[in-house]
Symmetry: C2
């Protein structure tokens, strides 16, 4: 979707173009999602941060709006943790890595080879979405752990 964080006017036009009424709440949520690109917030995080700014905002509304954005393919839903749904405004083809140490979800800018197969078919099934969810220990946690071991050995 829109690469550069746009102003409200541009976002309004964007939503209208998608056949979505650009209400105040929708604009604010979309703006927030674009600003927080790469942070993969939950409904709760979005609600907690936004209702301070635009009260009264209802969690139901956040659920509704995110759901409609997912249907219109403006954002995508990520279920890597298994305990709650996270949302991502980066809808260019990419995949996700969940660090089991720090809990971060990291974007992996790798094209998924599944997508390459003949006209979106995999073993005869028509593929419309591909989610690569990898889990393990992220680069930063590995480095931190290495440093700790190094320090311990020096003492």
């Amino acid at each position: 979707m829109i690469k550069i964080i746009s102003n409200m006017g541009e976002l309004k036009k964007f939503l209208l173009g998608k056949g979505i009424k650009p209400t105040y709440q929708r604009l604010e949520i979309l703006y927030y999602m674009l600003k927080k690109m790469n942070s993969h917030p939950t409904v709760d995080t979005i609600y907690e941060e936004l209702y301070l700014k635009i009260p009264p905002l209802s969690k139901t509304t956040v659920y509704n709006i995110l759901k409609s954005f997912v249907e219109k393919k403006i954002i995508s839903a990520i279920t890597i943790t298994g305990s709650e749904v996270r949302y991502d405004a980066n809808i260019t083809p990419h995949h996700h890595f969940l660090c089991t140490k720090c809990g971060r979800i990291i974007d992996l800018d790798l094209k998924c080879p599944f997508e390459m197969q003949d006209k979106n078919r995999v073993l005869g099934h028509r593929v419309e979405e591909v989610h690569g969810y990898l889990k393990g220990i992220c680069k930063e946690c590995l480095k931190r752990r290495k440093n700790e071991i190094f320090k311990r050995n020096k003492n």
Copy 2:
């Protein structure tokens, strides 16, 4: 894990080998999971079907046992639907397809190319698990739809 559905004696030995006490509930749940290989049941399904056979079975126990099986890598947890966790006793490397029409989860026996990269590192992160979740319309639903359109055109 065990390819051929074993008898209770073999399962008992298997669990003992993994350092897990082979209680009645654990054996029955493992037996059920192997029998229902490829059906990816939820906690609820497992509970509903098993408590008829082995009452009193508690849902808490089902949660406990499945969790311990996942930790010991006897089964794996699948979060493709986003609304509940499903379990899979097939732990050979494979991926999953969710049909948005019929709701089935289908095993895709494809190796994930992510796994091929240098010693389990992807972009510097250490990868311990890889889940490929694809969504779309399955072969059977595509065929059914095709037939319906064909019939409609004949009339």
